[in-house]
Symmetry: C2
Subunit: 458 residues, 2 copies
């Protein structure tokens, strides 16, 4: 009986220990959520970023000013703030685009946005017949005979029935990214791309495209999904219609710029670093609110929350606001090089660059033991609606750390609304919800604090 | 062996039958979602409602105009459209409210909204000392000695940590609804109520309150949560501060008005009716977009989708845009009476009045056999993110049908953002997402079509 009693005692003790650790975690997480959900610093910081510096393309005055302002904002909550030099490529949209559908004597002006990186049309603009395609296979089939001297109209739509809209983006982005290069190969003079969004709207959505040096560089624009539908109908009735475009975009000389970095020094293992970041650059339409003002503010809020709540992390928590995610990722490349040069151990890297909707989970790429530890944290987050703990984590900026075997995580917001805003004039501060934003800030902070506390990625 | 073969044949046949029924359902549902997600009629109708008639209090010109416009909009998709007469009570806000915190010589003007139904202060306004309370128990404890001649400041906050914000609304709404009556009982001259929202914002949020005839009617206003926090801090430093309020609200004579009803006649059992509705009235601040423009548009879209897709429902599908949910529910009362008078069988009633965020489920109140049938439909909706099939369905308007044992359903959107908009200037069209709206329209339509097709509530 004595043995049994002892066993019961030991088991109770162990059990209490477990409960108590869980309880401590729960209390700490709840403290983080409470501060985030009842304080408007992050929301007001996002407003400042969006309203003072709405256009933040790499190389622009807007992004320089944003970096300075965010430096001032984050300084009170960090042990160290510094600027990491990079040379930014500088593409400029120039004058507002003109786009006109010409059917006989009828002319219909429509909204257009030059794609990022596109050459301009020259002052005279460009007028040509239009040929509609939905794939590179169709383009090949038409060949030089069908394409030469024409504008290629890429009209492969994102399927609105896909409940994972990002998957549709993945399936359709080829026409925006490679479309001009491929069309030019067959002698096209320009490309018109259906906007990459799953909703029927009147806003063109821009985004990066590329050229290869061996093929002539032709101008590329995006038009809205509703205008694309109408142009397609017009072409069926009148295949000889003409399209006029005038864009003033150009590449300007490189500009010295920066990643903005701020740190809270670790209390036990300061040489190990948790990187958390978003990108400070944005497109030059809208205000870059969801993409990626929110990610910047989430990352800044991680420091504010840890500082304000006097949490003492074991490891150094480093916020990085990356320059130039949207076009050439010069910031992320430089950061990864610098980490390598210093032979620094990045314990984990977390990115927030999927917009500011309600957070519902995390994705994580790590080795299997680490991934298991990540999964163990799930029960702590379920009470806050964070239910999906998945693999395949990462992000455009932190992926440059992948070859150093850094565990990569990204926070997953509900994905339904994202393409209403993405790369368009609709991506403004007013479209971000206070509560969604702050649930995001709290969630990402709590994840960092737990990963650090439990040495999950040892 | 022959028997075995026969059995296998029969089982395969049955299995195919089941699969095929499921498949047919899935195809039908997918057709509904596709049309909803690729058509902007509902979104443009919501824009029209919000921008042309932003203020739609019962009895107002705004709501009359809205009823006329929505009549025209829905007519092309219905077999019958008609107006059901009601007499609307007519409360008017009058001139913009003034509210001033006076601390010695310092005066700080803050935003305020009279509560719906409140009496005005008279032209001279009202100035008094302030006493802060958080419950009726505190009020009782203070008694006449502590309250007489003062303004009572109700400052019991919604807890932002509650992941079911509506539950917090339920816990705190007593101070808005009964607060003036209770304070007046102890001799208060007015009440100031902390806005019922879980976020720290600068917008006052209004809402209905009531008086009883036996107690003097005193004016009641709402102030924002941030102003409430500040006033509370001020009171701690200076309990003798004064508060000035001036409101011009009053009850005007009753006005003839209407519920707007539109029907698609049933093809097999037209005498049985599925009622689907939202409320056409709204508060007179903001644009009544989430509350309840969205619910109106969801309900209208049910008819448009069924009409456009040539779905032939067995039962009559009746859209009801109820008048006056916000204040006295005269529309819902009249509709329920009318159903009783006609001894009509309402097969099911479905309400959408929880805002236009991403739909995540349905609540249903029905007898146990019906509830089981409702649960059986779940698997058809899971692919669209509709995962929560719960009990306790209903809504302010359809609850008047409860005593006729009508199965009551309401669609549940994600609840996190709702109190950012609720009853405030922030409830505008721009805060509604196209995709969320249309996922809602499709979801509610698919539910109605399935309940009808499967005779779930027989």
């Amino acid at each position: 009986m004595k043995l049994l009693h002892s066993l019961i005692y030991i088991i109770s003790f162990l059990f209490c220990g477990i409960v108590s650790a869980q309880d401590n975690d729960s209390v700490l997480i709840s403290t983080i959520y409470r501060e985030a959900l009842s304080n408007d610093w992050a929301y007001r910081t996002l407003e400042d970023l969006c309203k003072t510096t709405p256009h933040r393309l790499a190389g622009s005055e807007g992004v320089s000013k944003a970096i300075s302002r965010m430096y001032q904002k984050i300084a009170p909550f960090a042990d160290t703030v510094y600027l990491q030099s990079v040379m930014a490529k500088h593409w400029s949209r120039g004058k507002k685009e003109e786009a006109v559908v010409i059917i006989g004597k009828e002319k219909r002006s429509i909204a257009a946005l030059a794609l990022g990186g596109s050459v301009g049309t020259g002052k005279a603009g460009l007028k040509a017949n239009v040929v509609e395609v939905h794939s590179f296979a169709e383009l090949k089939q038409l060949g030089k005979t069908g394409i030469q001297g024409k504008m290629v109209f890429y009209n492969f739509a994102m399927d609105p029935m896909d409940m994972v809209p990002g998957r549709q983006y993945g399936k359709t982005v080829f026409q925006r990214f490679f479309g001009a290069e491929q069309a030019a190969y067959y002698g096209a003079v320009g490309t018109i791309v259906r906007s990459l969004t799953n909703i029927p709207d009147k806003n063109p959505h821009t985004g990066i495209m590329r050229y290869v040096d061996s093929i002539p560089k032709i101008p590329a624009i995006a038009i809205s999904t509703l205008d694309a539908d109408e142009l397609s109908r017009d072409l069926k009735l009148n295949s000889s219609l003409e399209f006029f475009m005038r864009t003033g975009c150009e590449m300007l000389p490189d500009v010295p710029s920066y990643n903005l970095i701020a740190e809270i020094r670790g209390n036990e293992i300061p040489k190990e670093v948790i990187t958390v970041g978003g990108h400070i650059d944005s497109w030059d339409v809208g205000e870059g609110a969801h993409d990626d003002g929110v990610g910047c503010v989430h990352s800044m809020e991680v420091l504010r929350l840890i500082h304000t709540l006097k949490i003492k992390p074991k490891r150094t928590i480093r916020m990085v606001l990356f320059l130039d995610e949207e076009m050439f990722q010069v910031g992320a490349r430089r950061y990864a090089e610098w980490v390598k040069e210093r032979n620094e151990k990045i314990y984990a890297a977390i990115e927030s660059d999927s917009g500011g909707s309600l957070p519902i989970g995390f994705s994580c790429t790590a080795d299997s033991a680490q991934y298991l530890e990540f999964q163990k944290l799930k029960s702590l987050f379920v009470p806050y609606g964070i239910n999906r703990f998945r693999n395949d984590g990462g992000g455009v900026d932190i992926d440059f750390l992948a070859d150093m075997h850094v565990p990569l995580l990204d926070m997953n917001p509900d994905p339904q609304r994202y393409f209403e805003y993405h790369h368009s004039a609709n991506d403004i501060f007013e479209k971000v919800s206070f509560r969604d934003l702050q649930l995001g800030s709290a969630t990402i902070t709590a994840m960092i604090v737990m990963l650090d506390k439990h040495d999950s990625f040892k």
